[in-house]
Amino acid sequence: MKRIVVFSITTVIAAVANLPAGAAPITTNTALPVAKGEYVFREQIVFNQSGDDPSGANRDHNVALSASVLGYGVTPDLAIFGVLPVAYKKLKLTTPGGARVTRKDSGLGDIRAFARYTAYKKNMPGQTFRIAPFAGIELPTGENTETDALGRLPPAVQLGSGSWDPFGGLIVTYQTLDFQIDLQAGYQANTKADGFEFGDVARLDGSLQYRLWPAKLADDTSAFIYGVGELNLIRQEKNRANGIANPNSGGTALWGLAGLQYVTARRIIEAGVQVPLIQDLNGTALEREYIVRGSVRFNF
């Protein structure tokens, strides 16, 4: 059952790591500014479905996640963020005895806190280029030792990792009146808790947002609709239990997303569907089928 851990943890990371600042990518981060003294809030709903089990256990795993993100501009260049995830996780499988069982859990996941600093910016008429590193930590606020009638839940169904996990990365953003490109490289070093350690996660993300409407800007244009295309290359190392690597965990996946964003001065409404383009998972890990994302962002 530990084989499915790989998609559970990367789902959470992909879902809750993105900053709500500016017109921004759906699955990754942007280096666009949060004004000094300004708050930005994002509420994202994510549904992740996995199945097509090669193991014969006919596993069906899904995660519904609500991620609330609050950001604050400390200075024009420094912004801090907190992410509060609430998840509902369910795993159905057929036991070796032939019984069909469901294992599930719901509640608060691991809270993330991080800061982003704009190290370089070049503002030009109608366009901006920015480079911003970020760093933070994932706190062990989600329960990682839950049990049900069958015993301790597998890590993929647990709400948290139980460990303090630092992460960081670099974001590059180029925005014009017509389009925006965001690129990110990130790494999360997962640590051990209760004898178990999730594999570290490295990722490369790219996003293109292209203005579809209005086709031509007017002096009073106050809203955009962007078409959004994104790629996420995610690599997770093998999980370790009591120091021993699990050969059926970890691997590499390339995801593609297509979505739409409606952007005004005070809010963004967006939705997208993400599908795996390439999955090269270790062992007989359960493959993921799709992720649906929808969110709203406000600034105040």
């Binding site: 004004a35 809203a223 952007v263 005004t264 600034n299």
Partner: protein, 98 residues
């Protein structure tokens, strides 16, 4: 009677327009460019910073031309330094203050 009304109306229009212009001049209207501004969501940061300046009555932003127009209350004045600081606090750069 109709002719008198029409004459009065025609006389009133330029008076009202002139009065409005005088009021705008007296209140103070400033405009400037904001470099780096390229989408509606980011414009709110500029608007919020400018509205926090005492005496600012209204802020209008054209994303197309990166032009910000600030209308001041009667007797209030906006300095270049105030406007530049507000734009900088929003993460952008100001030029062509008038």
């Amino acid at each position: 009677m109709k002719a008198i009304r029409k004459t009065l109306f025609l006389l009133a229009v330029p008076v009202i327009v002139f009065a409005g212009t005088i009021q705008a001049w007296a209140a103070g209207v400033h405009s400037f460019k904001v470099d780096g501004l390229a989408c509606p969501f980011c414009s709110y940061g500029v608007e919020k910073q400018l509205k926090a300046i005492p005496g600012v009555r209204g802020v209008k932003i054209s994303i197309k031309t990166s032009t910000v127009t600030v209308t001041m209350k009667n007797g209030a004045e906006l300095t270049k330094a105030q406007a530049s600081r507000a734009v900088k606090n929003a993460g952008f750069s100001m030029r062509n203050f008038r």
